[in-house]
């Protein structure tokens, strides 16, 4: 009869965290930043159809790095959560805070209970009426959650990007879409002609739409806007 090795809980958690962190660091980076025109979501992504940035609800966007199948499943769960909540109550009752909490609980559960932790890190962004009212939540593989200000970067070069933005253009909240796009690109080290940029915007100018029209603010940036 074989006796299983004893592994201390500390070691077990550390091994799992190292495993997840390694997987995430292999991925290319994602940057979410608030500006005057809305919340800009940028991702370095070679694929035009396997998106890392997505719409969850009227004012809520989603960005993720890591294993595609894992964050895609989480994205769909978020859409189901938001649509069902908005249908049961009212569209304005769907908030990023509630959604980020659900993500955190789910990821924490998987981290401790499942065979292997999810190798993902994600951002839930909620557009406010002004940059000061924007909400950016970063949720990690172990379910830890952080409320970020102004900008948040994920993935391989995340720390370098954050450092560059903190040192760089100063107040991002005053920038228009073009300037914010340029600042984000520069921080990510992407040239203007890079075809590997995926970009989307939670558009603040769409916030005033009447209830009879669509209240969705998420849109992908066109090639002209990226040029």
């Amino acid at each position: 009869m074989t006796v299983p090795f004893y592994v201390s809980p500390e070691q077990l958690m550390k091994d799992r965290a190292d495993f997840a962190r390694k997987g995430i660091a292999r991925g290319r980076s994602v940057l979410v930043l608030g500006c005057a025109d809305g919340i800009l979501l940028l991702a370095e992504n070679a694929s035009p159809s396997l998106n890392k940035l997505a719409e969850i609800y009227d004012r809520i966007g989603f960005a993720a790095v890591g294993k595609y199948n894992e964050f895609e499943g989480l994205r769909q769960a978020g859409v189901r959560y938001a649509d069902l909540r908005g249908y049961s109550y009212e569209r304005s009752d769907v908030t990023a805070r509630g959604l980020a909490n659900a993500y955190a609980q789910t990821l924490a559960g998987v981290f401790t209970n499942a065979q292997k932790p999810y190798e993902v890190e994600l951002v839930v962004a909620e557009l406010g009426t002004a940059p000061a009212a924007d909400r950016l939540f970063r949720v990690s593989y172990d379910g830890s959650i952080a409320d970020e200000r102004s900008h948040v970067a994920l993935g391989g070069g995340a720390e370098a990007i954050t450092a560059r933005l903190d040192a760089g253009p100063g107040d991002l909240a005053g920038l228009g879409l073009r300037e914010a796009l340029a600042a984000g690109r520069e921080a990510m080290g992407l040239t203007a002609d890079s075809a590997h940029l995926e970009a989307a915007l939670l558009d603040r100018t769409r916030l005033g739409a009447s209830a009879a029209q669509s209240r969705r603010t998420f849109r992908r940036l066109t090639e002209e806007e990226l040029a």
């Binding site: 997505a54 499943g73 989480l74 859409v79 189901r80 908005g86 789910t106 669509s214």
Partner: protein, 281 residues
């Protein structure tokens, strides 16, 4: 474990209707106790235009012999490229519209691409079929669905001139049967007079304003003969709802503009009646 319900993570369907049916069946519209006092809606019509398609509906809901509401809206945006109008029990109709709007939005978000127009019509038919039990209790809800397809939309490189939009209109019955209509169609209790008027007034490639006037004429005919249909209410400033789908997507015509067109229609009718000597009697 709290967080997402397991079904959110394991579901494989792109349908919001399926999701609600499985998780919150009590949130779906059900008749409960239905009597004669339930408000009902009435005339909705659609016609193809040069731009794409136009849908119009009156604003009255009746309950028995009473007018229950003067300002109810029966024509709604379904998504950015289609519109839906409903005749039947008002409460159920509005719920079904809300559910259908979410169905299209949910699919678009989950799949990352919108459904085709035909696909949307098929989904609507399927949702009606599951409401068949309600229909058998006399709570019929009959929608009219319309949208515009850009010809050559499948080939992005096509010349702009080749991308003239094509309006398509679908009608349904309570059993979920789906029928594509040619040129124009009307549903509801005032649909008879409205169809006769459209048959007279419709022409190929009507401009939007001409099509709106034709729709208002048809609604006025329906209001003259059907107690359940309200005409344009110039006293209270209530105009029929008119929505169009064209190359720029779905939009609602401004109510003040529609009211002006409706006033002109009323004025022509008044003059016509005076010429026939009806007013003198």
């Amino acid at each position: 474990m709290s967080g997402f319900e397991p079904a959110f993570l394991s579901a494989t369907s792109s349908s919001f209707f399926d999701l609600v049916s499985g998780l919150r069946p009590d949130a779906l519209p059900t008749p409960g106790h239905a009597g004669a006092g339930v408000p009902e809606g009435t005339t909705v019509l659609a016609l193809t235009t040069a731009e794409g398609v136009l849908m119009a509906g009156d604003r009255r809901a009746t309950a028995g012999h009473q007018i229950a509401h003067r300002r109810i809206e029966k024509v709604h945006r379904a998504d950015a490229e289609s519109v839906i109008g409903i005749a039947g029990t008002a409460g159920l109709s509005l719920e079904l519209i809300r559910l259908f709007q979410l169905e299209l939005e949910h699919y678009e978000k989950i799949e990352g691409t919108p459904l085709s127009l035909e696909g949307k019509a098929n989904r609507l038919a399927a949702m009606l079929r599951t409401n068949l039990g309600l229909a058998l209790q006399g709570l019929a809800v009959v929608p009219l669905f319309a949208g515009a397809e850009l010809a050559g939309a499948d080939s992005p490189g096509a010349e702009p001139t080749a991308r003239a939009p094509r309006g398509r209109i679908f009608s349904f019955d309570v059993t979920g049967g789906k029928y594509e209509e040619v040129s124009w169609h009307a549903i509801g209790s005032g649909s008879g007079p409205a169809r006769s008027a459209l048959k007279r007034l419709w022409a190929p490639a009507l401009e939007t304003e001409a099509a709106a006037i034709a729709a208002l004429e048809a609604l006025a005919d329906a209001a003259e003969d059907d107690a359940g249909t309200g005409g344009a209410d110039l006293v209270h400033g209530i105009a029929p709802v008119i929505r169009t789908v064209g190359p720029e997507g779905e939009r609602r015509l401004d109510e003040a503009y529609v009211l002006d067109l409706a006033a002109a229609v009323v004025e022509r009718r008044r003059a016509g009646a005076a010429n026939r000597g009806e007013a003198a009697r």
